[in-house]
Symmetry: C2
Subunit: 289 residues, 2 copies
């Protein structure tokens, strides 16, 4: 299948790679051209100078960029994807962005006869590299059915959550829960260390009961060792995601007291220069530094 | 083996039952005598009128009561266990209490030549009934070795965490983490509902990734249905446990900003008359009531 992939960051680069490896004809675009060149050196496929050129001729155009404004530029801009896409093509946005943007893109795409899906992912860089992402998808059922088999090249779980915007809303729920969970883990681990407990032994015991979590099983050790760099999901990205959720909550009326505080904590980490550290660096704020 | 079990509440009643079913000779005591009678009607074993009488002749004396003061009364009081225990006997306290109390009991027991273990459990009423508790044990290795095979009748995981008090400290870490996790789940689920998502579908997707937790898999559904009664671990008990952790943190210097706020939330639930509801009732505070 002819595909386009716009945005070759830490997530997009390996995701586009999986599509090429699966035998699809992939054309890529990246704002920083050097990354697109690096991609074509490693994979079969062409790089183009604008989103519109990359999108031309593709059955499905994937985007995976930084935030709402980046998506608007790469999709709706003068040289944006919508201006180059073929008749009947489908746009799939993997960026974690607002539900409002998803609905805006859905309307813009449909006005030109294109399909649209908002399809944020979770699983981080490792999930993208291993093709083990969770993909939360909003949009019409027909578009989902078209894109699902393709997204399975990097998505272990690809789920249709309903209308346009619902992919983003589901991702928000995910991030709200991770943030609170990591803060809970941070307070527990910091307490354990100060109480003089064997933190690893405590984790083993606790993981057998009602406090078990993926974060406990996969991040407690690195947190205990004070390792926050070179893996995971960055403080600044989590902060961006929480702010999207907090803005949406102002509209739907959901109270997010814990989430609001943790967004502040991530702001403190950013101010300390730890914005690119893994989001589990929340525990670092509890240390006497 | 001759054993004594003091305290037949929702936890102690089935725990003592497992010991009797395993063929041990169990003598019980309960402050409200009717419960002790109910226990002897269901199990082989005798009930006594005071802790001292129940403890006499037992190789291991188990206690499982409400809080620090209850333990002091049943162990150190005039008719307390220590005044009736046989030479060389071992005292095992399953109450969730302070680490300070554990050290106090350890000293009092040793002064009389008895062994001591603090051994709070997690797993709730269901865990006690199914013999699937997690038991976190503090005390000397010799006492642990003596009691471990007996505790396995109701403990699926029985772990020695170090010196006296370390069982309680480990339980505090567990409760700190559960409280934060449940608040995170509450904010996520409440947001999902207000956002118009299919909450069950969202949980299925999210449980495949980094937000996975025991609480998500076992409590999301009841929370979504607004069911908080007749199961689980009560608001008031969780609040008691968090206050023990907060007091300990004042000594060891651990900051617990999230835990402190959630203790306040549990206080709100208590004021609403929801003190006996399951601790997942935190989500009820986010509803517009």
């Amino acid at each position: 299948m002819k595909l386009a992939f716009l945005g070759l960051g830490v997530m997009g680069f390996p995701m586009a790679g999986h599509l090429a490896k699966a035998g699809h004809e992939v054309t890529v675009y990246n704002r920083t051209a050097a990354k697109a060149r690096a991609w074509t050196e490693q994979h079969k496929g062409a790089a183009k100078a604008t989103p519109a050129e990359a999108a031309a001729g593709a059955e499905i155009v994937f985007t995976c960029v930084g935030n709402d404004d980046d998506v608007r530029q790469v999709v709706l801009g003068e040289q944006g994807a919508l201006s180059g896409m073929d008749k009947g093509a489908l746009l799939v946005d993997h960026t974690t962005a607002s539900a409002e943007l998803a609905r805006e893109l859905d309307a813009a795409a449909k006005a030109k006869g294109f399909g649209f899906l908002d399809a944020p992912v979770s699983g981080g860089q490792a999930g993208a590299q291993n093709g083990a992402l969770t993909v939360m998808v909003g949009g019409d059922a027909e578009s989902f059915a078209r894109a699902e088999p393709v997204m399975k090249h990097y998505g272990r779980a690809v789920t249709h959550m309903g209308a346009a915007g619902n992919g983003q809303l589901t991702k928000m729920v995910n991030q709200i829960m991770i943030a609170g969970l990591v803060q809970a883990l941070s307070e527990g681990l910091n307490f354990a260390v100060r109480a003089g407990l064997d933190a690893q032994k405590a984790a083993q015991v606790i993981a057998k009961g009602a406090a078990q979590s993926w974060q406990l099983e996969n991040r407690w050790k690195t947190m205990a060792e004070g390792k926050f760099q070179g893996f995971g999901f960055a403080v600044d990205w989590m902060r961006k995601d929480l702010n999207i959720a907090l803005a949406e909550a102002k509209k739907n009326g959901a109270a997010l007291p814990l989430t609001a505080i943790i967004e502040q904590f991530y702001g403190q980490l950013n101010a300390r220069g730890a914005g690119r550290w893994d989001n589990t660096a929340l525990i670092d704020l509890l240390a006497n530094k």
